[in-house]
């Protein structure tokens, strides 16, 4: 489903990704771990098409099409979702308004009919319930005044509503307490654990992987994948640290 080959990317002329290759098939969940500053968020942004993140070499194909050729909103409409490490506040815009506009914009791009207000609210209610987020929160402005944990849960509600093919979740587990971690883990499984969908899970901790079992684990260091393995690699990393494993 997603094939990254020899990806080189830079920000402001500073090289961050250095020949990163990775393939994720439909139905798979891959975890990416790695030290701070390794380039994990950069990878997520490059996949999302964030302006300023310049790809200098390599390719990314998504569902057979050249992902790098698409504008950010086109990637989103094609089914690429980014769960942000730091979800962004949009004052004066309610979650409901934001997500309905976003969803209908994606649907329009795909040639689908827009959802009516009623249909949308029904969908939003269902997904909010899944993540144990009060519907009242969705009537509030996007991420404004949300706690760290609420922001991450709201991020997953957004994912549920937009129903992507592929999700890159950037440290969705950080800032969550034990109960929220379980809720979010179960939410990810229920939204994304299907034979057609895939997830790239960026995390520092084994604990999320207890809920969301990865098919593969990769270590990203200095802008490339240095080691890959099965779920046991995550356990090994937790015990021994990146220094030894990634060396």
């Amino acid at each position: 489903m997603l094939k990254i080959e020899n990806l080189h990317a830079e920000i402001d002329g500073k090289k961050i990704l250095n020949g990163l290759s990775l393939e994720v098939n439909a139905g798979e969940i891959h975890a990416i771990m790695g030290p701070n500053g390794a380039g994990k968020s950069t990878l997520a942004y490059v996949l999302g098409g964030r302006p300023g993140y310049e790809v200098t070499e390599g390719s990314v194909t998504f569902d057979g099409q050249d992902l790098l050729d698409l504008a950010p909103h086109e990637r989103a409409s094609a089914g690429m979702f980014l769960g942000f490490q730091y979800p962004v506040e949009i004052p004066g815009v309610s979650n409901v308004q934001f997500l309905r506009e976003a969803l209908n914009s994606q649907r329009k791009y795909r040639g689908e009919e827009p959802l009516s207000g009623g249909e949308f609210l029904k969908l939003a209610k269902e997904k909010a319930g899944l993540l144990k987020l009060d519907m009242e929160m969705l009537k509030r402005n996007v991420n404004v005044g949300f706690s760290g944990g609420e922001k991450k849960r709201a991020e997953m509600v957004q994912m549920g509503i937009l129903d992507p093919q592929f999700a890159v979740l950037d440290e969705t587990d950080s800032g969550l307490d034990i109960d929220a971690l379980r809720t979010v883990g179960e939410g990810i499984n229920s939204i994304m654990r299907t034979p057609e969908k895939s997830v790239l899970l960026i995390t520092h901790y084994q604990r999320l992987l207890d809920y969301v079992k990865p098919d593969k684990v990769h270590v990203l260091a200095k802008g490339r994948i240095v080691t890959s393995g099965g779920p046991e690699l995550a356990l090994q990393l937790e015990n021994e640290g990146y220094e030894t494993v990634a060396a």
């Binding site: 504008a71 950010p72 942000f84 004052p91 004066g92 815009v93 934001f98 914009s105």
Partner: protein
């Protein structure tokens, strides 16, 4: 800054109807001079007492009205054009403009094909029906259709008039009101904005073309929102518009002015005056959406909009609320104000001003607290893009006898890009120590984080900008009547197209 706009003088506007020019030309050379010949459709170029007499005569005005105009004209001749606003434009030659032209003067087009495609694309984005587009663009023969389109049907218009009449509400053009309700007009005209108030207001007093008069009797809640939209058939009132609204004790009215579609207008100089009077426990809500032609991307050909709007809260517990969405005009000079005389009266000003390309806006409000316990709220949202300049200029004055007054002011500026300017100029004068005054101001740039976040969820760049800007302006937009708010949102999006990226 004066070199920013290279605009031809009004008389050189290419749109000016040839017929009008020829007619005016003939009058200019009329050997007996120009004497209130009311058979003529056009006043010649320039401004003098005869022109003022001509305008008054064309409107069948009583002597007192003519005298009032002449007095204003004489005053105006002694006045200087103000230059303190942060706007620059080439010097206006007031003798090189036309001050009266019958409606026919408006250039007619054969069909929408002749309309600037840019304007048409805006009409389409706003979802304006074709028939209505034709009226706005001034297509020949469109009038009748349009009345229907605007009113839905003529019968709706009639129902509308009858319902107002039943409630005792007077809603007329000011010319009609001068003839039909002279005592009311005489009593209030120029009482809120005195003739000598400022250069542009004084000019308006002398030459005002037409406008609206509204009178809400005691205890009446106006049964519908009054809109100039309903008076679209009152032609050619745009240039020197004059509006007077009087709300008697315990009455309420909501008035909507303007139109979201960019109106074509060959008159470059606009100088309107709006006066509001609210008696005891009365409330006037005045909402404006202004989207006059801002000129091209270099600022050429846009409207200069010099407006004086003032409301007088005469009675105790009266309330006047101004809400404005300003997206048009090349130059905007406008400070809708409230004079709070009545005890516990309330003044509000909610404003969104958008400038793009070479537009310049210097806008804000004055809250004059004279009565005890008076309160005012000012929420101003300035959005600047392109190479535009956007200034908030506001005065809060607390008079010596105004005990226990309060003001809250919030001025937020949002910048799109690096070449635009945002300025906040608050003046605060406090002559009574019991006043509580709060002022907050912020300036921010539209953030890359927000844009990318919204785009990652599926919005294209323009949608993302529109969403963020609408969120920024939300506090003001929510003050607009529902149907206006939806149009205003679309308008903000359209005004900012192409301003990012």
């Amino acid at each position: 800054m004066t070199d920013q706009i290279d605009t031809k003088t009004m008389a050189e506007q290419p749109q000016m109807d040839q017929e009008a020019r020829d007619a005016a030309k003939r009058l200019e050379t009329y050997e007996f001079g120009f004497h209130s010949d009311i058979e003529q459709e056009f006043a010649p170029k320039g401004l003098n007492e005869d022109i003022v007499r001509f305008i008054s005569a064309k409107k069948n005005e009583p002597q007192w009205m003519l005298d009032w105009r002449l007095k204003a004209f004489r005053l105006w001749q002694t006045m200087e054009e103000p230059d303190w606003a942060k706007v620059g434009y080439p010097e206006i030659d007031y003798q090189d403009a036309y001050y009266y032209a019958a409606p026919k003067q408006k250039e007619t087009l054969k069909s929408l094909d002749e309309v600037d495609p840019e304007i048409l694309s805006v009409y389409n984005k706003l979802g304006i029906p074709i028939a209505e587009q034709e009226v706005l663009a001034g297509v020949e023969g469109a009038r009748k259709v349009a009345v229907d389109a605007v009113f839905d049907s003529v019968s709706v218009a009639t129902t509308f008039r009858e319902e107002l009449k039943k409630a005792g509400v007077i809603f007329l053009s000011i010319s009609e009101a001068i003839r039909e309700y002279p005592d009311l007009v005489k009593k209030y005209l120029g009482k809120v904005v005195p003739q000598q108030d400022n250069f542009f207001a004084t000019l308006n007093c002398a030459v005002f073309s037409d406008g609206t008069f509204v009178y809400i009797p005691e205890g009446v809640r106006c049964p519908m929102e009054l809109s100039t939209y309903f008076r679209i058939n009152a032609e050619n009132t745009g240039q020197f518009e004059r509006t007077l609204i009087v709300a008697e004790k315990g009455s309420y009215v909501s008035y909507l002015e303007g139109c979201t579609a960019p109106m074509r207008d060959e008159n470059q100089l606009h100088a309107a005056v709006v006066e509001l009077v609210a008696m005891e426990n009365a409330e006037i809500k005045y909402s404006t959406v202004q989207n006059w032609y801002p000129g091209d991307s270099e600022g050429k050909g846009g409207i200069y909009n010099f407006v004086t709007k003032r409301g007088l809260c005469q009675g105790a517990r009266s309330k006047i609320s101004w809400t404005q969405v300003e997206t048009g005009s090349a130059v905007t000079w406008k400070y809708p104000s409230c004079v709070l005389n009545g005890e516990d009266s309330v003044g509000e000003f909610y404003s969104v001003a958008v400038t793009n390309n070479r537009q310049q806006a210097d806008t804000g409000t004055k809250m004059i607290h004279n009565g005890k316990g008076t309160r005012s709220t000012i929420i101003s949202k300035g959005i600047s893009a392109g190479r535009s300049d956007n200034t908030y200029r506001g005065l809060v004055r607390i008079g010596p006898n105004a005990e226990n007054t309060r003001n809250f002011t919030q001025c937020d500026s949002l910048l799109l890009g690096d070449e635009c300017g945002a300025h906040t100029v608050p003046y605060i004068e406090v002559k009574n120590p019991t006043a509580q005054i709060e002022h907050e101001a912020t300036t921010s740039k539209i953030s890359d984080d927000q844009l990318f976040y919204a785009m990652q969820r599926g919005l294209d760049e323009e949608q993302a900008v529109a969403l963020i800007v609408n969120g920024f302006a939300k506090e003001v937009l929510k003050e607009l009547p529902m149907e206006f708010a939806v149009e205003a949102q679309k308008l903000l999006a359209i005004s900012l197209e192409g301003s990012v990226g």
